[in-house]
Amino acid sequence: MQQVAILHKPRTLVRRWPADLADRLFVQGGQWLLLALLLLGVLLPLTAMLWRGLAGDPGQGGGLAAASELVASANFRWLLGNSLKSALAVVLIVVPLAYAFAYALQRTCVPGKGLWRGISLLPLLAPSMLPGIALIYLFGNQGVLRDFIPDNIYGFWGIVLGQVIYTFPHALMVLLSALALADARLFDAASSMGASPWRAFRSITWPGSRQGLFAAACLVFTLCVTDFGVPVVVGGDYQVLSLEAYKAVVGQQQFGRGALIGLFLLLPALLSFAVDLWLRRRQRDAMGGRAQVYHPQPSRGRDGAFLLLVLLVSACLLGVFGMAVYSSLVKFWPYDLSLSLHNYAFSELPGGWLAYRNSLLLATCCALFGGVLIFLGSYLLEKTRQSPLTQLLRLLCFIPMAVPGLVLGLGYVFFFNLPANPLHGLYGSVTLLVICTVAHFLTTAQMTASAALRQLDGEFEAAALSLKVPLLRHFFRVTLPICLPALLDIVRYLFVSAMTTVSAVIFLYSPDSLLAAIAVLNMDDAGNVGGAAAMSTLILLTSAAVSLLLAGASRGLLRRSQAWRAAPGH
């Protein structure tokens, strides 16, 4: 057999190091490092919280005896009742509204979908106090629409309205994805059998989105029960549990009592999380591989009605946020309505601009370090041999989703404030705030990364190995460029979340690491509502600017890589 010399090579197969040493270091080292970070950032603080709540020393309001005493007290029942009542009311208002809004965006031919979507996500860009502050300017004792409500806004309805605005985009995002995919063939089959649109909705759309609806309800309920940004601003005498936990720890140094209430707040989250998981498992593969994507056909009556609803909701949101921005620019509400930047003179306040700078630093660090770490971690989870270690890591990554920020923050207090903890020095530093914030928002970011990575051909890594290319180099050469849009998405999510979060970090800041969102809370507490509105507006603008910047970068990136993204070859 005549052979061509094309495969002849002078090559030595002797190497000094095992060929896969670098890869092993990268994979094994990375996974163990990830485990250490997750233990430190998630599991140990939560364990500390449990321990402090159930077996704490007397005098700080912890322990089982204190727990039963707490549950038996009339005050606790009143707080619990208040929390449940307002949270349920919010669920009943927000979920149907968000469902209709999501339906309008996904299943009708309403014009200007991108615009409505952008407006509806506005509340994500500001701390949860902002809706409360706007409500005060609208319906407060000196509000512009004061006469439209019989009583005053402080109390039950203030909390409900504020939390409706705060939770609307959260519910919307869940429902948008629940309604995103529909199999056109099912609708064709229904109409060929003479089913009315209403019947088709009941038999196709509704069963397919029920689970998403439940998930949205659970999410909203949990957010409401654990949020204290809105109650602290417009709650008035209507006290709720989350506020009580905050007051116990920050005001009275009653760590045990705070932990106990935190445990109570963990219950609805864990419960709804478990039910949600169970439902999700039951509803797997509703959308088969051969499904055809459903595109709604124009229908005048339906589209008109939904457009009206979308306009109404958008107008309300714009009104509320416009009011907050406007009020921050007013010189002295309600006596001198001339515009000025007087409220933005933060340098005259204790903390002042430091808080804003800290927030920027925190958000940037969370976005960059957190984003890279989470993406690399997800790569190590998705693209390596599955082992008990990767299973454990997956589980640990999942926990933060079920843990409210308030509970996580308390856990950090108990764990990092232990004098015996060698990491005690981190307490009160921006570093710890970064760790806590990344841990808080870990699950969503990790799921985004994993979803993007799972779309890549599973044989890419095997191909790289067979070509003797180190895994880390392959990651930077192939994986990262393909997944860059998803990474930018994660960076944006982490940045905005870090800019606006209050719930976890409120227990962890020191005067030197004061954050903008916390400054909002403090200013409002001190009666400086104008300053609070100004700082909220600043956060809103920063989040919006960074989001737009990253969206633009992502779009430019996609355009530049159009040549190879254009058509999947096979």
């Binding site: 002849h8 044989e459 180099r473 190879w564």
Partner: protein, 350 residues
């Protein structure tokens, strides 16, 4: 055959309770193209991945050219692999894909090598294109060029044709085979498609339930299947239950003469007779052995041949198949036919 290049000894691999590989041993000679053929789940892909080092076998030894690589990571083995999906990197150009495994050489050397490889697979001029801009067949060639660029001494092909449509497939099978011959590279290919295996392989290893049922040339696999599974999996066949009656086999009321090779001792008392459809003779012009009356049921026209379904009068309800050239069809008239099952074509399975 020449020297043994790839040697597999008693390879075991399990996934939980499932035995993917149950003691596989194969010798592949240098320059040979061997196909692993079998239904999905038979362990052929697992075997390929064990050879590639992408899965670690539970037991057994793998040797490349006398070197034991059983415990080595993929990077330390010396092979190129072509995946079912090709796994071309979509963000890299054709040239960059081919150059992916060539790091550490000079820039000029890499460029020269890339040009050489693209010329080899006939894709000169596509250097700056992205995989998404190529057809399926072209993508396959890029993947092949990429796998061969670092000069591996073994080529592994994982269902290389399954992503292509039938027309391109046959053409590329021929091309791939020609290229393999030209390079003289030892090649192991996994496929579930018997036509591909027949077309390309020097030898075929038919696998089932994690075991090699038969390892032989395509001709031997087809003409003399070693097990009922091989007989059934490769090509079409007729099966007749029988009981032994001296030198004859009794099928229902019929007595069939067997070929001398099939009469020997050690054969079971009862079992199944196997016969290829094309070996069945319909209405022979002269007398033949094992000639029986039958009823014709159906004729299917397949282009270059016809398939005929019939039932022996002595064995009603048991549909059998015959294949014959279309030009012999006019000899058929009416449903009544005579069918000969030549003794040479009858094979006995226990």
């Amino acid at each position: 055959m020449a020297t043994v290049d790839l040697q597999l000894r008693d390879i075991h691999k399990g996934f939980g309770a499932f035995k993917a590989l149950d003691g596989v041993s194969l010798d592949i000679a240098a320059g040979e193209l061997v196909c692993l053929l079998g239904p999905s789940g038979c362990g052929k892909t697992t075997l390929l991945r064990c050879i590639a080092g992408l899965e670690r076998q539970d037991g057994g030894a793998i040797r490349f050219a006398g070197r034991d690589v059983s415990e080595l990571p993929p990077q330390a083995r010396d092979y190129g692999i072509l995946f079912q999906s090709y796994a071309l990197f979509p963000n890299l150009t054709v040239a960059q894909n081919v150059a992916y495994g060539l790091a550490g050489q000079g820039r000029d050397a890499i460029r020269a090598r890339v040009n050489e490889m693209l010329e080899l697979v006939g894709l000169t001029g596509s250097e700056q294109k992205y995989p998404a801009q190529l057809s399926g067949g072209q993508q396959q060639r890029v993947a092949l060029a990429r796998a061969l660029a670092p000069s591996p001494s073994l080529l592994l092909l994982d269902e290389p044709m399954s992503a292509l449509d039938a027309r391109v497939r046959e053409h590329l099978c021929g091309e791939l085979r020609a290229l393999q011959r030209q390079l003289g590279i030892t090649t192991l290919m996994v496929t579930h498609n018997q036509d591909e295996a027949m077309l390309m392989a020097d030898r075929i290893a038919v696998m089932n339930h994690g075991r090699v049922e038969q390892y032989a040339s395509p001709q031997d696999i087809y003409r003399a299947p070693a097990t009922p599974f091989v007989a059934e999996f490769v090509g079409q066949g007729n099966w007749l239950p029988f009981e032994r009656d001296g030198e004859h086999a009794r099928v229902g009321d019929l007595s069939l003469r067997l070929h001398s090779a099939q009469r020997g001792a050690g054969h079971a008392e009862r079992g199944r007779l196997f016969c290829r459809p094309e070996a069945v003779v319909i209405n022979p012009p002269v007398h033949e052995d094992n000639l029986f009356p039958a009823q014709m049921r159906e004729i299917t026209f397949l282009g270059n041949r016809c398939r005929l379904s019939f039932e022996l009068d002595a064995l009603p309800g048991h549909a059998l198949l015959a294949e014959l050239a279309p030009e012999s069809m006019p000899r058929l008239s009416g449903a009544e036919i005579w069918v000969a099952l030549p003794p040479r074509s009858l094979q006995v399975f226990a």
